[in-house]
Structures are given as C-alpha cells and as structure tokens.
C-alpha cells in the first residue's frame, strides 16, 4: 500500500493512500468538527462541517470524502472555515425547533456540543419554527422531527449495518424529512426490526427511547463502530 505524505496545518503527516483527510487529521489529533460522519457507515459529506482548504483548489473540500494525495497542503482552521462552520451550526439551529431545555438529549447532544465548540452564543438568522410532528407509534422508540438535522446517520445505519432500510428521506430542501417505509407511522413499519441502532446513531434528540425525559437520553456513540468492527474484523473492541 502506497504511503502519501501531506501537510495539515503545517504539520508533515504520512498516510495510507486510501485514507481520507478526516481519518488522517483524527489520527494526528487535529480536531475537525463533524456531524453527519459516523464511524461504521459510509461518508456522505452532507453537513459540510469538516470542510477544509486544500492548496491549489478554489473550492472547499469535505475532509470526510477527500482522499489524501502526495504533497497535499491542507488547512483546517482558517478564519474563513471557522466562520462557515459557525454559520452552518446556526442555520441548523434556525431550521428546526431545537428547544434544548425540553429535549431528551439536553446535555448529551452532538449539535449542542458543536454549537459550543464553534462559538455559537446566539443565532443570527431568523428561526423558521416549522410545524413538525412527533411519531411515537413504535412500541419502544420515538422520532421527533423538531430535533432532526437530516444528517441521515439513521438512514445509513439502518441500510448499511442493519440491512433493513426502514428509514429514508422524503421531500426537498428545508421540507425534507426522515420517513419510515413509505412515509408510514414507524409503529406500522414492516421492515423495521426494532434493533434500536438508529437511536444510537442519531446525534440529537430526534430519535429516542420512549420514556426518556428531558436530558435523560444518553446515547452509546461507539455502538455502530463496535458492531461493524466486530462483523468485519472479528474484533469485539470499540
């Protein structure tokens, strides 16, 4: 396997040719915010939080889907990138009804942590306050579309890890929403195996265990990676 040498934030780093910039940055301890990324499922570069500057390219590149290359020069934390990341998190907060104080994931939420990390102290955009619904028709789980950031981690986990493909995305733009089967109530889904992996894959309080009250929904962030590592490498480690 060929080794590539590149620079990230001025540091000279060696990497395997099949690694992404995100993989390498993480190994080197260079922090890069992510939201749609989930270890164990395919990267989709949807959230744009891991965008980096690559010398020679006018376009910003998502680190999670950009493969390393020989002599690549990457910047991960320029003022431009930081301002875009802050803007992205603010837009996510403005798009749906993220009322942290009454959310099951308050205090254990990746979106909340991101907002703190990128320096969001208030949202400069008008909140859309869309009319979203909550589906608690499933026996054990619920989905609250008010809290959904459309990262599709549940969709990919259900499809690629569980193999059920219960979840998918319907609609376009800010009217997009996550559906079970053919937009039927989750409890009426014939494909759902009730495995609960989507609950753990969800970064916010959008998918939760029924009965969890405010701040009680703690998720096992390593579960999906654990399952995939066990399956592919026969190693029962996180």
């Amino acid at each position: 396997m060929a080794v590539k040498t590149l620079r990230i934030d001025g540091r000279l780093i060696s990497a395997h040719e099949d690694q992404t910039v995100l993989d390498v940055a993480r190994e080197a301890g260079i922090p890069l915010p992510t939201l749609c990324h989930l270890d164990g499922v395919a990267a989709v570069a949807a959230c744009r939080l891991c965008l980096v500057e690559v010398a020679g390219s006018a376009k910003l590149q998502p680190a999670c889907t950009t493969k390393v290359a020989e002599g690549m020069v990457v910047q991960t934390a320029t003022d431009r990138l930081k301002s875009y990341r802050k803007m992205i998190v603010e837009l996510l907060l403005a798009e749906k009804n993220h009322v942290c104080s009454v959310c099951v994931s308050n205090g254990h939420c990746e979106l909340q942590d991101l907002a703190v990390n990128v320096g969001v102290d208030h949202v400069r955009y008008d909140y859309l306050h869309p009319d979203c619904h909550v589906d608690i028709s499933h026996e054990r789980f619920g989905i609250d579309h008010n809290r959904c950031v459309l990262c599709t981690r549940c969709v990919r986990t259900c499809d690629q890890v569980e193999g059920a493909h219960t979840w998918d995305v319907a609609g376009r733009g800010h009217k997009a929403w996550i559906i079970s089967d053919m937009a039927q109530p989750w409890g009426a889904s014939e494909s759902c195996t009730s495995c609960g992996k989507c609950v753990q894959a969800c970064p916010t309080g959008a998918i939760f265990h029924k009965g969890a009250s405010v701040g009680e929904m703690r998720k096992d962030r390593d579960l999906i990676r654990f399952v995939v590592t066990a399956r592919e490498k026969k190693q029962w480690v996180v």
Binding site: N97, V99, C100, S101, H122, Y127, H129
Partner: protein, 168 residues
C-alpha cells in the same frame, strides 16, 4: 469608580432565570456591596431609569410591551445581556410560533376546548398586545452578551457578574 448600576428585566419567560439569580446565595451579599439594583422585578422601581451600567434581560419578546421595555433598556443602558435561553433563542416562549400569528394562538388557548367562560382577554392599555411571532432579544435590540441556560446555572450567573465587575 461608583457602584455598578445593575438592572434586571423579566420579559416573556417564566422567571426561572431570576430564581436562578437568587440561587447565587451568599454572593448576593457580596453583590449588594458592589452594585445598586436600580430596576428589577425584585425591587420596587416602576420606571426604567437612566444611566444603567448592566441589564440582565430574561425572556423573549412576546408582546408589544416587551419590545417597548427592551428598547428603553437599550437606550438607557451601557451593556445589555440576554439572560437565559428564552432571551437567547426564544426557547419555550417561542414554541407557539409554529401555530401561526397571535390570533390563532389566542384562539387555541382561550376558545378551543374551553368549557368555562371562553373569551380572548382584551383590555386595551392593561393587557399587552401579543406579537404575531415571539422573537429572541437580539432580533429586537442589539445585545452585548449572552448567558445561556434554562435557567442559567447560578454558578454561570455568578461568574458572569464577577467578570463584569472585574472588567469595569
């Protein structure tokens, strides 16, 4: 330098932020030696005074009265602080926004499924007129600082006040 002229305001919120303010416990005694509380739901001043140094504003803007008071506070105050999640984001106060404009909200609350004396309160000059859309404070006036939390923990309030006093 004279004592810091501190004000607090309660707009569209539950007063939980003010309760948390009181939870700073013995620091209230230190604070009493360093600041004058010139306007607050906790003191008896009726009119927002001039030359206020810092105001902590709890709650979102939900009525016309809130907008008027916020604007007056901005005009008369050096440093305006959004105090708690309702002021910072709209929070629970803004959860009515998805229903629609004020009239729809009032009908939902006071007419629909109401058994005893249904009727929308309307006392011009007494009952403030609701805004069609609840707004966070920074959409109404420029804001200089933000203290998040529902309510903000007492420790956070204490640290904010300490740093404000230290950086005068």
């Amino acid at each position: 330098m004279g004592r810091l002229r501190l004000a607090t305001i309660w707009l569209g919120g539950c007063s939980g932020c003010h309760m948390s303010f009181l939870d700073i416990d013995e620091f209230l005694i230190d604070l009493a030696g360093l600041v004058d509380v010139v306007y607050s739901p906790l003191v008896d001043t009726k009119v927002y005074p001039k030359d206020v140094d810092v105001v902590l504003i709890e709650g979102a803007a939900a009525s016309e009265e809130h907008i008027d008071l916020a604007r007056l506070a901005r005009k008369n105050t050096k440093k305006v602080v959004a105090f708690g999640d309702c002021a910072v984001t709209g929070n629970v106060t803004a959860m009515r926004n998805h229903l629609g404009p004020a009239l729809v909200v009032l009908e939902r609350a006071y007419l629909r499924d109401v058994d005893v004396r249904p009727g929308i309160p309307c006392e011009p000059g007494i009952v403030p007129v609701l805004l069609d859309r609840v707004r966070p404070l920074h959409e109404v006036i420029p804001v200089d600082g933000f203290i998040p939390g529902c309510p903000p923990p007492a420790k956070r309030i204490k640290e904010y006040l300490e740093s404000t006093l230290a950086n005068r």
